[in-house]
């Protein structure tokens, strides 16, 4: 390589005009950086939602009265357990708890730790905690956004909840969930079932809803029919319904993604168009000189292809790498708010590191083809004309 005349001339030509090289790489890197950041965030949110859906129970049973969800009796659990095919039943208590300023709230989830936990994501959270100790005391596991809020109000170790009957309940912060789970659990407080009932004012013989799992997917429709036959006033929410709801949210986010993507791509095309229409005189002259010295059109195109490929790959690597650092290390400031919108509590979402190589390949193709074309088309136009004319 070091003794190759071609390589020598290629590097010589690249570094001949350092200003042009730096500006080309800089502009291209910024475009790649924006495109990659958008793609990385999209992939990361997609992966988080996918894992959330995967960890959802197969069915959630709610009681409806006048189109409004109400608490349901605890004894429904026994009736549901009679249905053949149901593999696990988890009673759940949850509800919004509004803090003192009434504008901020957290979602309290009560979990029956003695029962099977239908949510696999929660199962992972509880894996490394001492359940006996946790249930015995008045403890809670809080999401990272909740913790930031409590800390900002000087509740570093515990918090006094005000129950609907005016009683203060002091609950200790047992664990803070990692920021990686903030997309789904940032504003969540997890307590024992009984404690949640006390804080939310749910009667002892009532629960908010029931999560059930059915191992055989072919039986899902059948089980849904049986549940509807058993209780006249229930709403059965299947995993597919949840998936649809998440998809709707994501389609909305996808719209934002598309707008940003189109803006970035349009800017890129405009820059390329400008380059295409303003091939500088020195470049024109140089191509004509090379033609007059015995370079064929093919030789010129090949040389310019290599030259532009080197700067394009360099810009691509800088852009992708800086986008990776921006999204996964600095957590995409500004762009994060565009994607996640305003949050009830201070947004502390950390994007999980997902790098899909097909995404990188897509960015590469979206960038490299117009980039190379914007260089090779004008070069080809000059190369096929008479060198004498181009040198005038």
């Amino acid at each position: 390589m070091r003794n190759s005349l071609y390589f020598y001339y290629l590097t010589l030509n690249l570094f001949k005009d350092k200003k042009k090289l730096i500006s080309t790489i800089l502009i291209s890197s910024i475009i790649i950086f924006l495109l990659s950041s958008i793609f990385f965030i999209q992939d990361s949110i997609k992966a988080s939602l996918k894992s959330t859906i995967k960890n959802q129970p197969d069915f959630i049973i709610q009681k409806n009265r006048g189109g409004r969800q109400v608490d349901l009796p605890l004894d429904w659990i026994d009736k549901i357990s009679q249905i053949y095919g149901v593999t696990s039943i988890t009673p759940r208590v949850y509800g919004r708890y509004y803090f003192e300023d009434k504008k901020k709230w957290a979602l309290i989830i009560g979990v029956d730790f003695l029962e099977d936990i239908s949510n696999k994501e929660l199962e992972k959270i509880f894996k490394d905690i001492n359940l006996k100790e946790f249930i015995k005391g008045s403890n809670m596991i809080v999401g990272s956004e909740v913790y930031s809020y409590l800390k900002s109000h000087f509740y570093n170790k515990d918090y006094n909840f005000l129950s609907p009957n005016g009683e203060f309940i002091k609950v200790k912060i047992y664990k803070v969930l990692p920021k990686e789970l903030a997309l789904n659990y940032g504003n969540v407080i997890i307590t024992s079932l009984d404690l949640a009932k006390k804080i939310l004012g749910v009667d002892e013989d009532k629960i908010s809803d029931i999560a059930i799992n059915v191992a055989n997917k072919d039986e899902w429709a059948n089980i849904e029919d049986k549940l509807n036959a058993l209780f006249y006033d229930i709403l059965v929410v299947s995993k597919d319904d949840i998936k649809r709801a998440y998809d709707n949210i994501f389609n909305f986010k996808g719209g934002i993604f598309l707008s940003l993507f189109l803006i970035t791509l349009t800017t890129f095309m405009l820059i390329l168009y400008q380059r295409y229409s303003l091939v500088n005189l020195d470049e024109k002259k140089e191509i004509a000189i090379l033609r007059s010295l015995g370079w064929s059109v093919k030789d010129i195109l090949k040389f310019k292809l290599f030259e532009s490929l080197i700067s394009a790959i360099f810009a691509f690597l800088i852009g992708v790498l800086s986008a990776y650092i921006f999204v996964f290390i600095f957590n995409a400031p500004i762009l994060k708010d565009i994607f996640l919108g305003d949050s009830n509590l201070k947004n502390s979402v950390i994007f999980i590191r997902v790098v899909d190589f097909s995404t990188i390949a897509t960015i590469f193709i979206l960038f490299i083809i117009p980039f190379i074309a914007s260089i090779l088309i004008p070069v080809w136009k000059i190369a096929i004309s008479s060198p004498k004319e181009a040198l005038k």
Partner: protein, 218 residues
């Protein structure tokens, strides 16, 4: 040998060359004389294969260069024709050595071999002492010698010069005449398009072809 038969060149409505018939022998020095617009530069461009004639044929060593496809024409030009432009057309922000390497890029793989050839060419053109300076800092005469070195790097049989003394002072013009003598001794066929009377002082045997209004008057 160069044979030109019934050569016509038209630019839109303007007839630049009309029915040119010429024969230039090997190792001959030919001075194409004529006022500006007489067609000498156009003829030189057609011989170099930079442009295609409207009609007629140019045969160089029996190759109809105006009919060769691009790739063959480029290879033929590289092997057989060296061209020196009136304003030299060097890449100004490179050194003479790097400028001279340019014709070899598609053909030569080894950098060392190419540099050796380039230094030899610079020596023949008496400019090897400026090999590593930036071209933009060289004088007109020096730039011309770099352009000549670039034209002869592959030892082509034919050397074409377009108004070689137009941008030179008298001293440098005389130095150029010496260089023509040196190149003729290297068995080159040289065609010079000029209207400069200084070529009357050329100390080698040469043929003058007069061009007027696109026609030849030998």
């Amino acid at each position: 040998m160069i044979k030109i038969k019934n050569l016509y060149k038209k630019f839109k409505d303007f007839e630049a060359l009309k029915s040119i018939n010429l024969e230039i022998n090997d190792n001959e020095v030919v001075i194409l004389k004529g006022v500006s617009g007489s067609g000498k530069s156009t003829l030189l461009s057609l011989i170099a294969g930079f442009d295609k004639p409207t009609s007629g044929v140019i045969l160089i060593d029996n190759e109809p260069i105006s009919k060769l496809p691009d790739l063959h024409l480029s290879r033929f030009r590289f092997k057989n024709i060296g061209f020196v432009f009136q304003n030299f057309n060097l890449i100004k922000n490179l050194t003479p050595l790097d400028n001279i390497l340019a014709p070899l890029i598609p053909y030569e793989k080894s950098l060392q071999k190419a540099q050796k050839k380039a230094l030899n060419a610079l020596k023949v053109a008496n400019i090897e002492h400026k090999a590593k300076e930036i071209v933009a800092n060289l004088s007109g005469g020096e730039q011309q010698r770099v352009a000549i070195a670039r034209a002869i790097i592959n030892s082509p049989k034919y050397l074409l010069f377009d108004e070689p003394t137009a941008n030179l002072d008298k001293n440098n013009s005389l130095l150029f005449l010496d260089l023509v003598k040196k190149l003729k001794n290297l068995n080159k066929t040289i065609i010079i398009a000029t209207h400069d009377p200084i070529f009357d002082k050329l100390e080698v045997e040469f043929k003058t072809i007069k061009l007027e209004d696109g026609r030849v008057y030998e």
